[in-house]
Amino acid sequence: MSRTETGTHAPGSLAPTGKRPQGTLYRGREGMWSWVLHRITGIAIFFFLLVHILDTALVRVAPEAYNAVMSTYKNPIMGLGETALVGAIAFHAYNGIRIILIDFWTKGPKYQKVMFYVVIGLWVVTMAGFVPRHLINVFSEMGH
């Protein structure tokens, strides 16, 4: 081993003593979790998009057909699903901008960890604005 670190490995052993790899390793840190979340949110958004194009295409069938499907969406369970969807989109959007900055901004790699927490912060602000607004719409729909 060329790196000299203290507390990472037990003397003469390759087994890490900490809970996760330390030092310059990417694994287990902000970089990995942002990557994992980017993939999971991406998959979720993609499959939603397939369904969303198909349900919107019903406007070409009949007004009644489109309204019938929309009315099945207007309940609290789907309302929570839409909240999760918007959460996934907001994370994917902000983390996507972080990825672009890492790739094209000279100081991007240096600040990738800071930018991950900026992404989380912006996400919290976005959801704090969106969730109450949306859930009021969802729950006030009931009883109509």
């Binding site: 998009l49 198909l54 007004p63 969406y73 309302g79 901008i97 719409n137």
Partner: protein, 150 residues
């Protein structure tokens, strides 16, 4: 036989690429360029459809009729459709390449992705531009208010 091993950090020149377009590079560029445009398009889409006015409560045929009688929203939604489907499918292609270990599985999954992209982009584009907000014979109370004006 003696083999010469270069010093580990010595600069190297890449073997000249075979001629032709570097599709992976342009795919990589596309993900970033389309991503930036999609942030604007999708956030606008969500604000107009879910946040302003009555939000999700207002979404019905008349709401869509009102939006798509305006070329601005037709172009907005069409652009969103094309950029998002290609962005999403290309992202899924990356995942298939990463996680599907058999050549046949990868072929089937990427074929399914290509198929769904072509079908849904075609369907969506046709729906946006052949849409009639005031279809003949439909009950007036389901349509946008401007339908009964004439």
């Amino acid at each position: 036989m003696s083999t010469t091993i270069e010093a580990p950090r010595s600069p190297y020149s890449r073997a000249p690429r075979s001629r032709g377009v570097n599709w992976e590079k342009w795919g990589w560029m596309y993900m970033r360029a389309s991503g930036l445009v999609l942030v604007v398009l999708i956030f606008g889409h969500l604000i107009v459809n879910l946040v302003l006015g009555d939000g999700i409560k207002a979404i019905d045929f008349a709401f869509v009729g009102g939006k798509w009688s305006n070329p601005f929203w037709q172009v907005w939604d069409c652009l969103m459709l094309w950029l998002a489907m290609i962005h999403g499918a290309n992202g899924m292609r990356t995942l298939v390449n990463d996680y599907a270990s058999h050549r046949t599985t990868r072929g089937i999954l990427k074929g399914a992705l290509l198929f769904s992209v072509i079908v849904l982009i075609t369907l969506g584009t046709l729906v946006i531009f052949t849409f009639d907000p005031c279809p003949a014979g439909a009950p007036a109370d389901l349509l946008a208010s401007f339908c009964s004006a004439s």
